[in-house]
Symmetry: C2
Subunit: 87 residues, 2 copies
Amino acid sequence: MFVILVYDFAQKRVNKALKISRKYLHWVQNSVLEGEISNANYIKLKSELEMLMNPEEDSVILYTFRSNKYSRREEIGLKKGGDENIL
Amino acid sequence: MFVILVYDFAQKRVNKALKISRKYLHWVQNSVLEGEISNANYIKLKSELEMLMNPEEDSVILYTFRSNKYSRREEIGLKKGGDENIL
């Protein structure tokens, strides 16, 4: 399945959240990752983020799509993600 | 068409970016909005954000889907968006 993940973590946990998420998905923008993922890995990813997060402060949103791709992605302004911009 | 918008604006412009985006889409998380939008409004939304943004600092990512809905959205942690949490 195809997943888009958007996270919003407190500063002190944000690097760890990105590190976890990048094991499973491709980083496309500051707080956005996407990619094909198996159901097993989806569950692992979610549980790793849940273990890291403080649910009073952090949030994650996961969109899942049956089709394996969105039809278009447009980026305007600064390109913050991508493997060339590793923190 | 169905659109998911994720923005990342510098602090001094972030409220304006949210205000513009909320004219066209529903706010679902801190920096994420989604909804059905016409092509004409999509172009208006994009141009308003482009006028506001400093392309050296700010970024927007727009996912467009032919189907009118993702198949699932999961949120974990804090729910930051929604009309009950207007800044």
